[in-house]
Symmetry: C2
Subunit: 330 residues, 2 copies
Amino acid sequence: MEKTIKIVIDTKGADKGAQMMIKGAAMALSEYPALELCLVGDAELIAAELKAHNADVARVEIIDAPDEITNYDSPAVAVFGKPESSLVRALTALSERDDLAGLINAGSTGALIAGSMRYLSLKDRVRPALAAVLPAESGGFTCLVDTGATIDCPPALLVHFAHLGSAFMKEYYGIESPGVALLSNGAEPTKGNAAVKEAHQLLAADESIRFIGNLEGNSALSGAADVLVADGFAGNQVLKCSEGMARRLITDIVKYAKKTGDENIMKLVGHLMSVYDFNSLGGGIILGISKPVIKAHGAANEKTVVSVIGMMMRMLENKQVYDRDSFAIS
Amino acid sequence: MEKTIKIVIDTKGADKGAQMMIKGAAMALSEYPALELCLVGDAELIAAELKAHNADVARVEIIDAPDEITNYDSPAVAVFGKPESSLVRALTALSERDDLAGLINAGSTGALIAGSMRYLSLKDRVRPALAAVLPAESGGFTCLVDTGATIDCPPALLVHFAHLGSAFMKEYYGIESPGVALLSNGAEPTKGNAAVKEAHQLLAADESIRFIGNLEGNSALSGAADVLVADGFAGNQVLKCSEGMARRLITDIVKYAKKTGDENIMKLVGHLMSVYDFNSLGGGIILGISKPVIKAHGAANEKTVVSVIGMMMRMLENKQVYDRDSFAIS
């Protein structure tokens, strides 16, 4: 029998609600035979929804959690003050039990980071980062770190992100010596805000990573770098502006396709959606903690949940998180 | 006879060289009958190139400037230390002569800002900003300010940018009460880096502008705001990531069109290029100085020069800088 993988899912906190999360979980059980799940949240609701979707309940464990952490809670306060929340129960189980391999959540990013720091810290208690693995223009992937976990970053933290991203691309994408770039407003070392300029010097002097210099926004995802380092504020702009602009062009193209009735164009739209809808199809990966945790997009739908569970399965099998073949023009 | 408009062009500093700038100037003379030019740079080269392109030299004045400010010069130092540079000669002429209406340059952004501060300061000596007017998804325009002139911005400077952008959209786009948003990593007032969070409070309390709150990267150019305020670092990311991602999709579409041989798709590409190649077709506008100055993209080609001269003509006629009709799907 194939080795099973058991993943914890926090069913609360998503914009579209717990029912959507449970439906996505049920769909993933059908999709991945090696998958087992530990669903955390309203136990009654979970049981009822699983039944409604004819899920294979033999592969599901339920942990009841009456409370919920929302985007209105202060992350650090909530993680300590809401012990009965689904997130705290999920993290507690994940940290204490060897049979649980990883966690997926679609709620408050801040609380997930704070909780990961509390329950899944490595021995040296490094600060975790929220990375996104994005399809690069050259055909590979770029790991953008940070995308919003830490907004104000001193230079040493940017260097730390470089190490986290580099280790991640080595482990999951088999890149022996990942090229690390620093996001800036110009290619020259003198370009950047105060923290970026200082980080540039530190990175250039750091022999344990292969620093390739600054990258500007227009080549952020060119594939020139395997790892792109930014503070959470700027990294968030790269992620969201890129996806926003891609979605906008796709909307324009759909309009044009409807006007012309051209079937080739509708096929093109399908391809573009599969490549460029990366934010809502994927999820953020928390780097620098003891077990894999993926933050699904807050606006996740069932498809996102299935896709993110797939990411997690690949991660746990130590394969690349995304499969590039799925992005090829066909 | 139609009233003429005389614009100063710094022919030096562009990536593609002075010959390209002069060729673009010659093309613009044919395109705009009301245009007169004052070309600053190597006088011999200018005269020779104008002749080579059969330009109407009766409408051109030449100011010789043997020196050049490059991207390797420290902006502030260069503006004081290179009095014979084309930029300093151009700015001196513009500041001293009433017949010269505005300036176009495609060289060092830093030097252009420093020079504008020195020669074109308003009485209250406000800090200028570099804005970009971008086509919004809703059909209007969004004035993004700052796009890279000031990288490290205290909260009060962000508020100042809000005022500059608001005044600009009133004057050139006839928007009575422009909606001003602040770029952040979340919609809530508590989201943002330290400067953004404080600026949010200051903007919310400022009754002289219509503040509509934070906008995230994925809705930065939705049209929800007439003015989008960001520090030069983050604003630069919005501008360059948006254009980079648009260009990348267009490249993908061209590949697909070649594969399918679908003519409708090539037509679509033409439309998308006209809307989304905004950075290289347009130019940055310096706000907060006494006369209009436009910074053309460093990688400008002849078409960019013609397009930017057109922008300047419209500005000087107090019309909107870009004409939305030219962006419509046809």
